[in-house]
Symmetry: C2
Amino acid sequence: MSTPRQSRADRRRATEARILDSARELFAEKGFDRTTIRAVATAASVDPALVMQYFGSKRELFSRAVQAFSVLPETPDSDALVEQLLATLDFKLGGLPEGAVAMLRSMLTDPAAAEYVRDALDRQIDGVSAALSPATEYPELRAALFVTTLLGVTIGHQFLGLTALHGAPPDRIAALLRPAFKALAEPSG
Amino acid sequence: MSTPRQSRADRRRATEARILDSARELFAEKGFDRTTIRAVATAASVDPALVMQYFGSKRELFSRAVQAFSVLPETPDSDALVEQLLATLDFKLGGLPEGAVAMLRSMLTDPAAAEYVRDALDRQIDGVSAALSPATEYPELRAALFVTTLLGVTIGHQFLGLTALHGAPPDRIAALLRPAFKALAEPSG
DNA sequence: CCATTCGCTCAACACTTGTTGACTCACCTG
DNA sequence: CAGGTGAGTCAACAAGTGTTGAGCGAATGG
């Protein structure tokens, strides 16, 4: 066996990916503070020092692990705004990427995560606001209510496991939310 | 001065109250994990060991500090359900007691806090559900949507400081939410 | 007024944490 | 095949954590 099955660079990339996967999973499950570098290293079958060598710090590891986080994949257009918002429910209730879960889970206790989420939601609110009919009063506020409503439902479902939400199919939730969202989108407040 | 201005028992009660106040404030500001017994003790001008002596453990201190937490003060009645829900917005946006803030802030990272909040919200959902018109389809789910919506708005405002929500007066938020809530309370889904 | 209680502090333990530097050894290159 | 490079490990440090037991001194009660 003169040649190993994997080149050094390949192994390197693989270990780095394994570390990032373990980190993402643990950050999503326990949040930033309660996830230790040692736990990540163990989950990735690697020495803790290697995690440091690759990512420099726990913070940097977190940033790298959760990157490409987005709550609302696409920017909505004005025609079917409500339907587009409701369509993200499928995504939010169960299909949420681990990076997003990690970010959301840490947002109430880690200022850096809070800032990140706030900025992301602010951007999202701007998008929704712009998609509302121009005649609408208080478009930013309405947009914020759309977004925070979805945030609340997500938290209640994914993080708290509220019993009334637990068994409900996303379609039914969307169906009940639809009239409410339509009312919220009505220009005449 | 044969008699001190405060009896020993008075001093004891006062110190205990001071510790509880400091704990509540710090737990509300930083959450369970990031609040240290030493920090609480310092804020209360007391030795860390005394905190342990009085409360036994950090967990117990937390429980005692946040006690009497409730998100929805009164159980709603069926007539003016929506108005009662909207009326809690004043309370939630700024007037939230520190104990509640502490509990909410820790709910995503501390399983004990998560369970507490989940149970509290479940109970609240039951109450709202019972207050809905008997002809309503999926009353628990609708109730859950009411509660999670308010939760989302609260988080967006109090914890994330979303810009679109920051400057908005509670009345205006309530006014915009009213048609949406009315639609959600409509028996015909 | 003296013995006792008890509020309170001091110093320390045992543990976990993020982080670092020296080291080993397999792989790559000339 | 020899020398270097770099992936990966080992052991340790320094700081911070919850928690504990011995002790001090003032209020208390007989």
